[in-house]
Point group: C2
Chain length 325, copies 2
């Protein structure tokens, strides 16, 4: 079995590849090759029995995407995206990477034709929703994004469902909660601080909190995200019917609750490294984001979420220790 | 004031132009020119004081659309589309005309830049919704289309809202109910029979009814559609916020109720010309279409619907008489 991963060099992509290597198979079929593609080639550890082809290119280039699909991967994970802050700042780049890239991928699959109908797992986002909201966003609530990033994700979901309905692909779009705690450095996503206020103080650094403590948000751990991807790759998709986009289950927490969990796990000294510095631009973007979901379809389809925020922090600490080792 | 109409040769486009000519102005501003564009040049009657430029071309061609926008029309009506049945049969053509055409239009407007920010009225469709439905579809129900046509319209709505939010255009997407009674010949739309079973018997011809009498549908008259377009072109759009797509008000009627109204207006002899001939393909498409709406936002925004189906039939008879005269 051959697997293609677009956006392989990112945090979720690398974790996904590690999980696939550790497992060595999917649905009883041995994984023989993983094509790991990103805008920069991912430097990946070797993997027993699995050929890893790490390559770089631009998914907005149609020929590049066609060449990747020509290898006929049975499963494709499309994780590549320009993040929300950057897509808002650079309108053209956001549409080129986030929309044209997906369209090229779907077209390359369709034009392969014959019996080729890969499972395509696409990471969408809760940014497809925009306020005003229901108290809990249900599975039949409209997509009315308030960012170009959210618009691009919502359009990709519609394309994925239509190409699936026509029988060209077997698609599942999973709307990820904000992933917390992201390791590494802050990125250009407007949501970057949700991880920053946990990760940076734990590492001994100051972290800026640009929004109010009462802001509520919908989060999932990196491990939960990888679990969603693997389940989406192997689940029975018939139960989804023609609605191939699913809001993933998550945890609804306030900033105050996140900080309280950090205090519980790491103590007051660590919490003291959070500095409050309101940022009107980020506050405005975050105010348009969802806070809570009734993710019933995904739960019924077997997707499972984190149970509490303190466990997410402890898992992050364990990951960092393993990385340091 | 200059007005651009894409899809000017269609039934709604021609009626819109007639209404604009009869009025001669919009919001107190004299209409000086109407650029009437379609895939074939519309043969339009002259219009006192208004220059009508009737041209033909392909909206999937970017340069063609750029040339139309270069005239800097203050109001643009985008009515051009491949209809549902044809977009389902020809996947590539549907995306090219219904999606690329809109994207070219939005890009041409954005790239004009400066203070240019025209009002863009886009005719979307209730085909953006797919079953299973709520009993009455509300303004916050998800777009989950079951046709490529509906998918293309839903994507255009998302693009229109995002380009509007970014300040490039002042867009309003109006989701038209099925227009009944369409004059002229049956077309390739799967919904064509909704008009056919009224129009053809009244003209002395047999009409085929491919679905069950209990099928319920959401309809509006041609006159109501033109009213929606004119209101969308002149309304205060601030009240719409960032959600620029609106389900238009309409009439929810069953086939049986339509036939009963035809009997009331035209008698049993006319009704007898309807021949029942079930068509599984059309039944399947129509089963995925909405039947009833709570079109609250549009009603609050001042859009008004037809009041009863017999009046729609009588208006059609009067229109046909005027056309014959």
């Amino acid at each position: 079995m051959r697997i293609l991963i677009l956006g392989a060099a990112g945090m979720v992509g690398r974790r996904l590849i590690a999980a696939l290597c550790a497992e060595g198979s999917m649905e009883g079929q041995a994984i023989t090759a993983i094509d790991a593609f990103d805008v920069v080639a991912a430097d990946l550890p070797p993997c027993d029995g699995v050929t890893i082809n790490s390559t770089a290119g631009d998914i907005a280039d149609r020929a590049t995407v066609e060449a990747l699909v020509a290898e006929r991967p049975e499963v494709i994970f499309h994780l590549a995206a320009i993040v929300s802050g950057e897509a808002e700042a650079d309108f053209e780049k956001g549409y080129r990477i986030n929309l044209d890239g997906m369209h090229h991928l779907l077209e390359a699959i369709r034009q392969t034709g014959g019996a080729y109908r890969p499972r395509l797992v696409f990471t969408s986002s809760i940014a497809v929703f925009g306020s005003p909201f229901e108290a809990q966003i249900t599975d039949t609530f409209l997509c009315a994004p308030l960012t170009s990033y959210g618009t691009q994700k919502a359009i990709c979901e519609l394309l994925l469902s239509d190409y699936t309905r026509k029988g060209f692909v077997d698609g599942v779009a999973i709307r990820l909660p904000t992933i917390v705690v992201r390791p590494g450095k802050p990125n250009k996503a407007a949501s970057s601080f949700f991880s920053g206020i946990i990760r940076e103080p734990l590492a001994g650094h100051e972290a800026v909190l640009p929004v109010d403590d009462e802001v509520r948000h919908w989060v999932a751990s990196p491990a939960a995200a990888v679990g969603f991807l693997l389940h989406a790759a192997t689940m029975d998709t018939d139960m989804l019917g023609h609605r191939r986009a699913l809001s993933m289950p998550g945890l609804s927490v306030t900033i105050a609750e996140m900080i309280e969990a950090l205090r519980e796990v790491a103590g007051e000294e660590v919490v003291a490294r959070i500095r409050r510095e309101p940022d009107a631009t980020i506050e405005k973007i975050v105010a348009g984001w969802p806070r809570d979901f009734d993710a019933r379809r995904a739960t019924e389809a077997g997707f499972t979420a984190d149970t509490d925020f303190a466990s997410i922090i402890r898992a992050h600490i364990a990951d960092e220790a393993a990385r340091g080792a």
